[in-house]
């Protein structure tokens, strides 16, 4: 079966330096695929590259059977890819409702938008109480909820989460991972990029470990958990 997302030999970086030295990775349909790696391994660069925010230097990216290498970002996300970016990037001067509307920017169907709004509010009832609040004035945990809810407003087949646990309290992290699992249960494929090994492996089907711009090991989560390469990626051992 063709994977939903296929990344082949991707090289990318900033200025003179290559950050990714030929990364290949597949995301299968309906699965949670995780990408683990320590700080500076190139995880965010990989996401930025496949979404067209960073220019690709060589390699190819496919979504289903369409090659999307070098496409502008707005064309890529139109295919049904949503990204929940790192660092709770809400639109700070917009209300919660406006942020959610931005998430449904490409969704032309008004009835679908209101259905998705209801769905987002059932997952995060707290957001419903805050529809009129400016997103910039919410707490970090609430902003994290909002970015996830916003990501659900389109009609995604694939959601990419870039470090959803970063900087959140353990309680919020647990809640976020539960939500990610629930979203996956709706049939949406997930690429989960994380540093948090234990909890990530607990909900993923397949994993890849990135270190110094290369995938050093891949496999199902049981084998990865025991993998020495995974430990090496984090502890340099």
């Amino acid at each position: 079966m063709t994977p939903l997302l296929k990344i082949e030999n991707t090289v990318s970086g900033y200025d003179e330096a290559d950050v990714l030295a030929g990364v290949s990775l597949d995301v299968a349909e309906r699965e949670i695929t995780c990408l683990l790696g320590a700080n500076g391994a190139g995880k965010t660069t990989l996401i930025r590259t496949l979404l067209g925010l960073n220019p690709i230097r060589s390699g190819k990216v496919f979504f289903k059977t369409t090659e999307i290498t070098g496409w502008p970002t707005h064309e890529i996300v139109r295919l049904g890819i949503t990204c929940v970016p790192e660092g709770r990037r809400v639109f700070p001067a917009m209300t919660v409702l406006e942020n959610l509307r931005m998430g449904g920017y490409l969704n032309e169907s008004k009835s679908d938008i209101s259905e998705r709004l209801d769905y987002a509010f059932t997952i995060f009832p707290k957001l419903k109480e805050r529809v009129g609040q400016l997103a910039g004035t919410m707490s970090g945990g609430e902003q994290a909820m909002l970015t996830i809810a916003r990501g659900l407003m389109g009609n995604p087949e694939l959601i990419i989460f870039d470090e959803p646990s970063l900087g959140l309290s353990p309680l919020f992290v647990k809640e976020n991972f539960r939500v990610i699992q629930e979203i996956n249960g709706q049939g949406i494929s997930v690429l989960l990029v994380e540093q948090n090994v234990r909890q990530t492996l607990a909900i993923s089907h397949v994993g890849h470990v990135l270190a110094q711009g290369k995938i050093i090991t891949s496999g199902n989560t049981e084998t990865l958990r025991e993998s020495d390469a995974l430990k090496a990626a984090y502890f340099g051992g």
Binding site: L51, L53, P72, T73, H74, V77, R78, T82, C83, P85, R89, F91, P92, A93, M94, E98, R101, M102, G103, Y105, L106, L134, G136, T137, R150, G154
Partner: protein, 304 residues
């Protein structure tokens, strides 16, 4: 000094304030979406006024009624400058992304000079001031020392309508939502599916269309335009936007009216009209020393 006399100054200041606010809103929009200063803005305003004038002369040749001509003059100026604004953005501003912002400032400053000198050289006897047609009814109402001209009222009303339209467009439409998204976080906006270039081009078109309204209003008010009118109006509009807090829509509007108020106070105070600009700019300098980021300072979460 009697009340009617002061009211007269107030009304005159109001007309200027609307015009300045129209120019300042453009500066703030450009800065909002791209963090750039487009210094050809004043000369685009002048070009808008000349486009309107040329359109009027063409229309009066074929005998179009003045009422219809008034509408067509505005349409031509607005559409023409929206187009010029988008072109400037596409070929002079967007390609310079990634270069220091100073380069954008310089290149648009030079382009403004090209527009200005081209009008001077190629518009028939373009170096002389041109009479601008009286297209608005010039009925006047006398209240003691106050003469309220109907055309002044219409200019103020039109300008305020243009500003309200811009505000509603940005706050209420999906496209306006995209403009605000780009201003607040360009990358995340792109991730939501916003076509960044289209949004930026249309924002520049919108800002430049407002400059055209400002230019035509200036022509209608003074009944005279000249090729260099954009220099001072551009500078005042830019100062107003910075005074209010560059990037903030309300700041730009407030800055425009404040600058006009300062000029008016200067004119009343010194009784020599020529001193009004010296006074206004001197106060602006002091205000900026006091509040370096503008009176309604842009906080990150408040942009456009």
């Amino acid at each position: 000094m009697d009340l009617g006399f002061l009211a007269q100054f107030f009304v005159n200041g109001l007309v200027l304030g609307v015009i300045y606010a129209l120019v300042a809103v453009g500066f703030t929009l450009f800065f909002g979406v791209l963090d750039v200063i487009k210094f050809s803005h004043g000369d685009v305003l002048m070009l808008g006024a000349f486009t309107a004038l040329a359109t009027y002369l063409g229309l009066s040749d074929i005998g179009v009624a003045p009422g219809v001509a008034l509408i067509l003059v505005f349409v031509a100026g607005i559409a023409g400058m929206a187009f010029v604004g988008a072109i400037v953005c596409k070929f002079l501003v967007l390609p310079l992304r990634g270069a220091p912002q100073l380069n954008t400032l310089l290149i648009t400053l030079m382009f403004g000079t090209v527009i200005r000198e081209s009008v001077r050289l190629f518009y028939p006897s373009g170096s002389n001031p041109k009479p601008f047609p009286k297209l608005l009814p010039d009925n006047a109402f006398e209240f003691g020392n106050l003469t309220l001209r109907l055309d002044s009222c219409i200019i103020v009303l039109l300008g305020i309508l243009a500003i309200i339209f811009t505000q509603l467009f940005i706050q209420k439409t999906k496209f306006g939502l995209a403009i605000r998204a780009v201003a607040q976080d360009e990358e995340t906006a792109r991730l939501m599916g916003v076509n960044f270039k289209t949004v930026v081009l249309l924002t520049f078109a919108l800002g430049s269309a407002l400059a055209a309204v400002g230019g035509i209003s200036t022509g209608l008010y003074y009944q005279e335009i000249n090729f260099a009118m954009g220099l001072m109006l551009g500078l005042i509009g830019f100062s107003s936007a910075v005074l209010g807090g560059l990037g903030s829509l309300y700041g730009a509007i407030a800055g425009g009216f404040l600058f006009a108020a300062l000029q008016t106070v200067g004119a009343v105070w010194f009784a020599v009209p020529a001193y009004k600009d010296v006074f206004a700019f001197a106060v602006v300098i002091m205000l900026m020393a006091w509040r370096p980021t503008g009176l309604l300072a842009e906080r990150n979460e408040e942009r456009v």
